[in-house]
Amino acid sequence: MTEARPALPEDELFRAEIVAWLDAHLCGDYEAVRHRGGPGDEEADPVLRRRWEQELARGGWTCVGWPKAEGGRGLSIAQQVIFHEEYARAGGPGRMGHIGETLLGPSLIAWGTPEQKARFLPGIRAGTEFWCQGYSEPNAGSDLANVQTRCWQEADGSWRVQGQKIWTSLAHESDWIFVVARCVPGSKGSKGLAFLLLPLRQPGISIRPIRQMAGGNEFNEVFFDGAVAEAGHIVGAPGEGWKIAMGLLEFERGLSTLGQQMHFLHEFELVLDAMRRSGRTHDAQLRQRVAQAWCGLRAMRYNALRVLADRADAGLRREALIYKHYWSNWHRELGKLAMDVLGPEADVVSDDPLIRRLQQLFFFSRADTIYAGTNEIQLNLIAERGLGLPREPRPAAA
């Protein structure tokens, strides 16, 4: 389908370069992980996908948006978009390194010490050290700032962490975790927090996988029992943890969305395939839903282009504000549509790759509207930040 974006000649050269590289490298053994990985499929062959990360790194295709001075490729926004699009179009595996590359790396570049950068950026870039994220806690849920995990500094300057994090994806496949913990006893909410970097393989940390409804174990609980972070492995000052953590969430937005859309387009096409295979192409209700899904897909794509075009503008734009709610609900609906298109076949645990893939989509997309800000939190944010409606009044003391 034609695209509504003027392309510069150098961008088209760049596009040709990444397409050619992927064509030459995403083959052989790696065929097995094409279109695999990513949310809902993180357990797909992690060993091979780690190798793929190193392959990418050798080609210079990790950390493409980082400044050249920090070892990145220093691509423009337009070229990053092209990279993500073509990567997804080619079925590039879900990026095992994406938390390090898109979350921690940019934070270290912004707030890290020279020593921290020197220690951690190369491992991220090379695909040899993998990161996971320790924010959510069991009693906090959507109330992210309600952090109960404590930390304190020992005489030798090192930090100790005590507490529990939850919904940590890829914890069992990662080497390091970054954690927000309360360093000022008795402080509340977003005050008094520290942002610490800890190796996962240490006696003070244990990991318990959380079994999901379809049987996978993509998320984990991570328990900290006097776990140790080196003295130099605090980002920002003690008490600045919230600022770092929230700034890091900002990095999450926008850039990889066009890749996400290509991935969604691929899934949508699988649903069309399934519909043709199941012989339900003449069902008028299913046809309406397929068309509606396609409309949503186009709207998301154009919405993402709006977000990227407006990146220079200050503040959180309306189109950016709605995006999480929109894509997650769209994706959840796509999962349901996939099942209804399959009909009774959908209920049988299948070895057929197409059917199994759609079943995974159906079950895992139930989490889409919950993690990274539930629907309800998104609606609050939109109403308050996007429409200026009053915040929920604080209840009077009982």
Binding site: S142, D143, W167, R211, D340, P344, R366, I370, T374, E392
Partner: protein
């Protein structure tokens, strides 16, 4: 439409029994068993409780009650996700026997079901009646009786049933024929289907030159056309009652969770948006319950088949939509734990998707209703 004292007793007894034997832990244990249910619980249901005879006439060894009582039981079975061949035996097999079989077959088989000695089953079609299922199985007359060839896509609890009822098309006949056979009959192959919803087990059946004696055919031709419609309508109603129970439990689980789960210093259930969504679930559930109860009352009268079929389709449409909606909302309002294996919403969610095409999707049923309204 007032529940009688007997009906309240039946419902309360079911609720208390199932709360005991079909707890979340018990359901998970049953799901892990090869046969998909706990034989002891099933034995108690058949002998001690006599549920299988509830809607079978007294003359045939049953309690002589009907749809209004059965839907109360089934709602509780759905609420507790009872893993047992109860629906297959009572709502499919006994129902088909009562509506379609001739008197001698009824006299032979229904007392065995009523007193719990016989577990039976029949196809669970993916269309609003058994016609499509009958289309894939062909019966031919032979010198010694009948020969069956073809397949049946889904039969619940076929692995443990002692009797299988199948509908098969007969060349030149307008109505399919009903056969009763032993699932171990030569030429009949059962393949267990590994389903995401493990609370109800299905087999695919393949018939290769299955030879049956003449008396294996048990339909009463004069009643067959109307009887098949009534049996399909009643099956829809019974599944509707089960779905209603599932939806109710999703709401109950959710209300219990949001009433205690604290966020931002207050119970999640005190946030207005959460309250409204729970209220929305209750509105759908109560209206669907009215539909189920009303259709069941109608089934207890001498209502004509068309009216009965429409009301049962109505009950099924409303409960199907409500069941999925409530399961979806239960997951969402449970937040992070909602999509974990450990919490129960996922069990109801899987059941909702699996059940969405038993006896036709809501869309297909609406298409049938509109046809009746506009033709």
């Amino acid at each position: 439409m007032h529940a009688s004292e007997d009906q309240i007793l039946i419902r309360d007894a079911a609720e208390s029994f199932l709360g005991d034997v079909s707890s979340s832990a018990a359901v998970r244990a049953a799901m892990a068993r090869p046969e998909g249910h706990d034989p002891e619980v099933w034995a108690r249901i058949r002998s001690e409780l006599g549920w299988c005879g509830l809607a079978i006439p007294e003359a045939l060894g049953g309690l002589g009650l009907g749809a209004p009582e059965l839907v109360l039981l089934l709602e509780q079975a759905g609420r507790h996700l009872l893993c047992a061949p109860f629906v297959s035996t009572v709502c499919l097999a006994a129902n088909l026997l009562q509506q379609v079989a001739d008197e001698s077959a009824q006299a032979r088989l229904l007392p065995l079901i009523a007193d719990g000695r016989l577990q039976a089953t029949a196809a669970m079609p993916a269309t609003p009646d058994w016609a499509s299922s009958a289309a894939s199985l062909r019966a031919m007359r032979t010198a010694s009786g009948w020969q069956l060839d073809g397949e049946i896509a889904r039969i619940p609890d076929a692995g443990t049933a002692g009797l299988l009822l199948v509908l098969a098309r007969v060349d030149g006949a307008a109505q399919p024929a009903l056969f009763a056979l032993d699932p171990s009959t030569h030429g009949l192959q059962l393949e267990a289907l590994p389903t995401w919803d493990a609370t109800r087990r299905f087999h695919r059946a393949t018939f290769t030159a299955v030879a049956l004696t003449t008396d294996a055919r048990i339909d009463a031709p004069a009643r067959s056309a109307d009887g098949l419609k009534r049996a399909a309508a009643l099956a829809q109603l019974y599944l509707a009652a089960e779905a209603l129970g599932c939806a109710q439990q999703c709401l109950d689980l959710t209300v219990a969770y949001v009433a205690t789960r604290q966020q931002f210093g207050r119970p999640v259930g005190s946030f207005q948006a959460v309250k409204h969504r729970c209220a929305e679930m209750m509105i759908r559930i109560e209206s669907a319950r009215s539909g189920v109860v009303g259709a069941a009352q109608l089934a207890a009268t001498a209502a004509d088949t068309t009216s009965l079929a429409m009301d049962c389709a109505m009950a099924r449409v409303l409960t199907l939509d409500t069941q999925f909606y409530c399961a979806q909302e239960a997951i969402q309002l449970h937040g992070g734990v909602g999509f974990t294996w450990e919490y129960d919403p996922q069990l109801y969610f899987k059941r909702a998707q699996a059940g969405s095409h038993w006896f036709g999707t809501a869309d297909a049923l609406r298409a049938e209703i509109s046809e009746a309204l506009l033709s």
